[in-house]
């Protein structure tokens, strides 16, 4: 089950949505069985695009920020899920250390840290925030515009443990995606739970691994539901050894884009879709909406200007891009206040706990919205589950559009679970 949230889309629910709503008990059971075999990531957020005729997760974040965008009503759900997660991992836990991102002056990000602190405090833990930023040399309290405040303390590393002065946590929660690589201070911690594990960071993660796993998940889910997996899965391919600054490999990239667009065109024809296909080229380990490009025609890559090349050349923390995925672009039909919007689904352990819209007034329906100028609109709880629904079996509530987004979010989370299993450096190998 998924919280009943009101989405912006109105109008009748389409065929795919109806199929998903009708199959709710079967879907929930399917997830239940999957989670018997696979461990969900500790927490996850997933960006979703809904083109009406198909929908897809486009980004799966294993160190999600933005928890402050969830409404107060969603807090109890997040806390209840956090309790379940902690109980499973470390029931005797007393102290939790949050390691945030290093941008200590971004009060919007810090409001997210305060929200995480609140969630785990209510779940029954003493929570403090330990910064690994070299700027934080002593406990520093920062007041936020909303009246909250957060104290960042410098972490203290001993041979075997990580903590703060007078604070020895049994669990360390990373809210830092380690784009610049896992710092030495986080390595060789074996006595404490480090969540998510280091190999969930972008030093190790690759979007191509994630979407490969998602392809497998969507095929199995599609089979269970009796639907074409393409309806929930964006086609993609993978292109390595590029150098955007020097123009190396652009011809190969162009061929990849062209091949992908041909496949998409064929699918559009099969379904009678009158839209122009487009591709998204993204850094294979990128994040923060950096290193992302919309390509409507492979020819565009020929005259890729210097600015676009530079944009693709480096991502967060100045990492150069040599490796990209080329993914079928999925339009987003969602609009909030006339701006193009995409839903973001938040999960804690295996549970969907809330969501919001990311919207961008200056971007088109085929562009990345995670860019400067984006704003956030929390989704509200739906209050109309008691509306009688013609033909519904007794006990089944009115259809809820957000349910489908919660299913997609969990499919992407399941793919991340497969992905983390496959890349786990400590995995036991049975040969």
């Amino acid at each position: 089950m998924v919280p009943h949230l009101v989405t912006a889309l109105t109008g009748p629910i389409n065929e795919l949505e109806q199929r998903i709503l009708d199959s709710m008990p079967a879907i929930e059971r399917w997830f239940r069985l999957e989670w018997m075999e696979h461990t969900p990531p500790f927490y996850t957020s997933v960006d979703i695009r809904n083109a009406g005729f198909k929908l897809a997760p486009v980004d799966t974040n294993l160190y999600p920020g933005g928890w402050n965008n969830l409404t107060t009503e969603m807090l109890p759900l997040a806390v209840q899920a956090a309790m379940a997660a902690i109980e499973k991992i470390c029931p005797e836990a007393r102290n939790l250390l949050i390691i945030p991102e290093n941008h200590t002056r971004n009060t919007f990000y810090l409001a997210n840290v305060v929200q995480l602190q609140r969630i785990f405090n209510m779940a029954g833990l003493n929570v403090r925030v330990g910064s690994i930023s070299p700027e934080v040399k002593k406990p520093t309290t920062i007041e936020l515009p909303n009246g909250d405040s957060v104290t960042l303390e410098p972490v203290v590393r001993t041979k075997r443990r990580l903590g703060l002065k007078d604070f020895d946590p049994c669990t360390i929660l990373l809210n830092n995606d380690l784009s610049a690589g896992a710092p030495g201070i986080l390595e060789d911690i074996h006595e404490q739970y480090l969540l998510p594990p280091l190999h969930a960071g972008w030093t190790v993660r690759r979007k191509s691994n994630h979407f490969k796993a998602y392809e497998e998940v969507s095929k199995r889910f599609g089979k269970m539901l009796g639907i074409d997996p393409w309806l929930i899965h964006p086609l993609f391919t993978h292109c390595e050894d590029l150098d955007f600054a020097e123009g190396v490999g652009i011809d190969r990239l162009q061929a990849s884009v062209d091949g992908l667009l041909t496949k998409v065109r064929r699918k559009y024809k099969e379904y009678g879709i009158n839209e122009k296909p487009f591709a998204i080229v993204k850094a294979n380990n990128g994040t923060y909406g950096m290193g992302i490009m919309t390509v409507r025609d492979a020819k565009e890559l020929e005259d890729l200007g210097r600015r676009a090349r530079n944009k693709m050349a480096v991502v967060k923390e100045g990492q150069p891009v040599h490796d990209v995925i080329v993914q079928e672009g999925v339009l987003t039909m969602e609009r909030v206040h006339e701006a193009v919007a995409e839903p973001v689904v938040y999960m804690m352990d295996r549970y969907v706990v809330g969501g919001f819209y990311r919207m961008h007034a200056e971007r088109g329906t085929d562009e990345n919205l995670n860019a400067p100028g984006a704003s956030y609109v929390p989704l509200a709880f739906e209050h109309s589950t008691h509306l009688p629904q013609p033909g519904a079996r007794p006990g089944v509530s009115a259809p809820n559009r957000f349910y489908m987004y919660g299913v997609l979010g969990r499919l992407a989370m399941l793919a991340a679970s497969y992905e983390l299993e496959a890349t786990n450096p400590d995995a036991e190998v049975y040969e």
Copy 2:
């Protein structure tokens, strides 16, 4: 953690409440450790009385009705908790059979059944309702005033399993408290999960066992928190072999009441409380607010009129009362629309999922409110957790009065867990 609900009481939070709020992480950890050792009942509701200076659970229901009194916002919490419960007991579950009470014409009760059906359907199960009432001979659909409808089907018993025609459940959820005794049709079911177990019914349960277990729980909790357990525990004693109709044993009962009131008077003096103590006499296996009497002075029992005697003589389903508990009365200071009210806390598995007020315009602060004429007011979610709280550590939300009720509810639920362990007929005995 407990959903942030707004309670009717206003004014400053008192000392006990402040102590409980300040100890939130320690309390939540304490419960976490308890649930490692003890299994929570499948679902529970607890009636709570708050006298301001002390508070206490007064009734712990292991087959709770009234789920329809929870607001729509609470539904996702209930569903999430139901998912956790099912996952633990029977993750491969597909079909769930609800066995309701036999009052098939009470649409208020049936709205509760519909709500349970909705919760478990959203948690991922096919849910149908099987009646054990002899009146239900074929599938019967009943329309409810709120537009919902429910179909009651006659149960079908085979040698080893219970189900419906064409419906073989792996789990059977009882929402029938078996006051008249466990019917044969529910016995010797070993292949299916029967939840809660038959020994949670009032044929086996005794209030004296429950409050004995609660006394132990409150002592351990009081020690952890550094408070006098009396502040959360009503004193009680137990009186057997009575016959109200014949007047047998009334003298012993009188002595018990007198002894209890003396103890309470001493406690009131110790705490400087200017209230008149009173006792509640209740059938040891009673339910539905039947067989309950408020006694302000032991002398009242001498001239117990015929009507009061008859009222005490039998409880639900005409069972005679020979066995009572005499319990310290706890005033309720809560008021809703000027009527005396008591909060009722709902739990699914180990999680508090919501609550409401039971109120009664014609009853006093020292009387049982679970009586004809009672009405129900859902508690609303609180929207002010972001209010800055002077002196609060960052990340701690504003105090929430309902938190304390959620703690008390869970203490009573824990006592029920101890109680069910002690009375489990299938318990393995290690000698």
